[in-house]
């Protein structure tokens, strides 16, 4: 079995639904989406205009689902979508789109362009036009269990370290716990502070939680590459574990697209409502704060700013929570320009960070974040997505900027009042 153009074109036909048909027919070609896109904005290259990235999908819609288009196709006037064209479009659909959703925000007729890119990737991946690196990551996610090839023993090793460091037992496979905590591969490999912070905060707040050996990975490469069949398989692991352990709520970690995958796409992929809630860790922490269950002492003296991860803020609606939490522990919190729902993407979302071919473009696009950070004058940057964090660390390194990047959960844990 192999990817073929026919499979790709069939997938295009399959994903075109009522919203997509109405989006294409109501586009007024105003071009406002161009200036919302960080890739257009930093390069000035018109091919990065978001709606243009959908051109092959638009033609399939026209030729298959409109009267005039079908007539044109019948008379041989329509230009068919070819393999060569999809090859040309691959970098537009994958390398230069982080699915950050900024274009969808500014569209005057309300077209959700990001939604269309997500759907278009179904056809791109089915026709073999996904970037090699993303194919590799997806293969590892499906076959090994994590896009970075991590297995449960690696998590166990981390649990041991955390237990030794904090003296707190990390619960595993606890039936009937309130929360099932997930992690992203990046947190397991690069940011062990996350698990340690969660253990300490949850201990203080008296939260009953657990990890699951068969569902520790929150990320979903199937969503990024655009293969719903695979995305469903990956998300079903979490659903099965949550149902097996009978938890009330699954916590999506500091990772952007994982939240989209589980919270928004998950039930649609599974074709049924979940029997449990899905929350982002910042939502849970803010609820605990409101309930007075998190006690902190002192405030961070460093000037700080916060980078909004697109999938958590713009696409996920978690906007105020990080501000509330930072209000508790930061003395000099400074918003960057365009903060909140219109913040700029780090440049590495939607699978772009996993795609080494896109690196030069990604670093070019990082210039907007560089300007944002510089305008605040801070040297400490807080965020709530491990992928944003890695991407920004690379960008800061590339541009020789002395800025430290921290996760909000771990920063919060530093100011906990413990052992009293």
């Amino acid at each position: 079995m192999s990817a073929t153009l026919e499979k790709g074109l069939n997938a295009f036909k399959e994903v075109i639904d009522t919203p997509i048909a109405s989006y294409f027919s109501s586009c007024v070609h105003c071009g406002l989406c161009a200036e919302a896109c960080l890739f257009y904005n930093e390069t000035g290259d018109a091919k990065y205009t978001p709606i243009h990235k959908l051109e092959p999908l638009r033609r399939v819609w026209k030729q298959e689902y409109t009267l005039l288009g079908r007539l044109g196709k019948l008379l041989g006037l329509a230009k068919p979508v070819t393999d060569a064209e999809l090859t040309e479009w691959e970098p537009l659909v994958y390398d230069s789109c982080t699915m950050c959703g900024r274009c969808s925000m500014v569209c005057p007729v309300g077209n959700d362009i990001t939604y269309m890119i997500r759907k278009m990737r179904e056809g791109m991946s089915a026709s073999g036009h996904a970037p090699e690196d993303m194919k590799g990551a997806t293969k590892r996610a499906v076959e090994i269990g994590s896009p970075m090839g991590i297995k449960w023993p690696a998590v166990q090793a981390q649990i041991k370290h955390v237990q030794a460091e904090t003296g707190i037992e990390v619960p595993v496979d606890v039936q009937g716990a309130d929360y099932l905590v997930l992690m992203s591969s990046m947190e397991i490999i690069n940011f062990p502070e996350y698990l340690s912070a969660i253990s300490r905060i949850f201990k203080q707040a008296g939260v009953s939680w657990t990890l699951a050996p068969d569902a520790f990975e929150a990320t979903n490469s199937g969503i990024q590459i655009g293969a719903s069949d695979l995305a469903r398989e990956i998300v079903s692991r979490i659903v099965v574990a949550a149902e097996r352990l009978k938890v009330k709520c699954v916590i999506s970690p500091e990772c952007g697209h994982a939240f989209t995958a589980i919270r928004w796409e998950g039930p649609n992929l599974m074709g049924k409502p979940f029997g449990f809630e899905v929350k982002h860790i910042l939502e849970v922490l803010d609820e605990l704060r409101l309930a007075g269950k998190i006690k902190t002492r002192g405030k961070d003296k460093r000037p700080l700013t916060y980078h909004d991860p697109c999938q958590i803020t713009r696409r996920g609606g978690v906007v105020e929570q990080p501000r509330h939490l930072l209000g508790e522990i930061a003395e000099d919190f400074r918003e960057m320009p365009d903060a909140g729902v219109m913040n700029w993407c780090c440049g590495g979302g939607g699978g772009v960070s996993a795609n080494s071919r896109a690196e030069p473009l990604r670093l070019e696009a990082f210039k907007v974040k560089k300007r944002q950070i510089e305008s605040t004058g801070v040297h400490t940057l807080i965020t709530a997505c491990a992928n944003c964090r890695i991407v920004m660390e690379e960008g800061l390194e590339h541009y020789h900027m002395k800025v430290e990047v921290l996760g909000l959960t771990e920063l919060l844990a530093e100011y906990l009042v413990e052992g009293e």
Binding site: M1, S2, A3, E14, L32, A34, E35, Y65, S125, D229
Partner: protein
């Protein structure tokens, strides 16, 4: 965009005038970006427009006011003050406008003649108000009838902008029984490009938009069948109305003070003419984007459409079509519905076939087999 200091201001250009008034390039570019968006031009045109306008000689403009109420002048000169629009407006060379100019009598008319002579074939003529074709004495300026003045001044104009519904379509003076025999500019002038900017009054930014377009491209923007710039009059108020979702859900206010009106439901039943009125009120709004009639709780009266005053009572719902009889409409509706059903059915089958042809994607199938 590259940060330059203020544009390389050549003497006598708009750029120089802006520099003198302390308008910086950033503010000017912001204006041009907003303009390009409103005119539905590609974003890259913003800087082109900025260059073009900055370098343009101040455009000579002659403004003639005929049978009008001065509402158009009020709208255009006062409502946006003191934003950049007004500055640019100041920076055109407004050579004749009998409401605004200081000169009067013979000196005023001399200014008009001088401008016509100096800029022959190049000046822009703006007209507000309709022209009486009955007794010339109904409306004249300095002893010259409106008709004679329009014909004389139009001769040397590069283009004519008919501002307000009166100049564009005859407006209220033309309302039944039309005692003065009022007609529009386009009824008289046939050999010049005419841009209609209707509205009672028109939105100020539409006016500045047309001017910006003229200064940038030296041509007039794309017009619709009624001579209106498509970028502003391309869609109905109804299609862009924030109360549209209520219309779609069949939620209507029945009186102006019922619960539904307080909840902001659709004003269709109270006579709103939004569905048949092409204008930009719902998007650009009025008074620097503050509000527009529907947002203030009153239906649209359709003031930018020809013969709006005679198009039925203002508070009667638009439940009947303006033209066409029932039987024809019935047949058309039935035919339309049948086509709709057929297309939907066909599209559904296309999608169902695609679904049936879906082969489950596995990891191996993400890659092409080597040939």
């Amino acid at each position: 965009m590259k940060q330059k200091q203020m544009m390389d201001a050549l003497p006598g250009t708009v750029g120089e005038g802006l520099a003198q008034r302390g308008v910086d390039r950033r503010e000017f570019l912001k204006f041009c970006t907003a303009m390009t968006a409103m005119l539905a031009l590609p974003p890259s045109m913003a800087s082109v427009m900025a260059e073009a306008i900055a370098r343009a000689r101040r455009q000579s403009v002659i403004w003639l006011s005929f049978q009008e109420c001065t509402g158009c002048t009020e709208s255009i000169t006062r409502s946006h003050s003191p934003t950049l629009e007004t500055l640019i407006f100041d920076l055109i060379s407004l050579d004749y406008h009998h409401t605004l100019q200081a000169a009067s009598g013979a000196a005023a008319e001399h200014a008009r003649e001088q401008a016509m002579k100096d800029n022959d074939g190049k000046y822009l003529l703006i007209v507000d108000g309709s022209i009486p074709m009955g007794d010339p004495g109904y409306s004249c300026i300095a002893g010259i009838s409106n008709y004679d003045m329009l014909v004389e001044t139009a001769k040397g104009a590069a283009a004519i902008v008919a501002v307000g519904t009166c100049a564009a379509y005859g407006g209220i003076p033309k309302a039944d029984p039309n005692p003065t025999g009022a007609v529009s500019v386009s009824d008289i002038v046939k050999d010049k490009p005419i841009i209609n900017v209707p509205g009672c009054p028109p939105i100020p930014v539409v006016m500045t938009g047309v001017l910006a377009h003229f200064l940038t491209f030296g041509s007039i923007p794309e017009l619709d069948a009624l001579g209106r710039p498509k970028s502003f009059y391309g869609e109905t108020i109804h299609d862009r109305c924030y109360r549209r979702p209520f219309y779609d859900q069949g939620k209507f206010a029945e009186t102006f003070d019922d619960e539904a009106a307080r909840k902001g439901w659709c004003l269709f039943k109270l006579g709103c003419k939004g569905p048949v009125t092409y204008n930009a009120c719902a998007t650009t709004k009025w008074n620097e984007g503050t509000s527009f009639p529907i947002e203030s709780g009153h239906g649209c009266i359709g003031c930018s459409e020809p013969n709006f005053w005679d198009a039925g009572p203002l508070y009667k719902a638009l439940s009947m079509p303006v033209s066409g009889t029932g039987s024809m409409l019935g047949t058309a509706a039935a035919a339309g519905a049948a086509v709709g059903v057929a297309v939907t059915w066909y599209n559904r089958s296309t999608k169902a076939q695609a679904k049936a042809a879906h082969a489950k994607v596995t990891v191996q199938e993400l890659t092409r087999e080597e040939k």
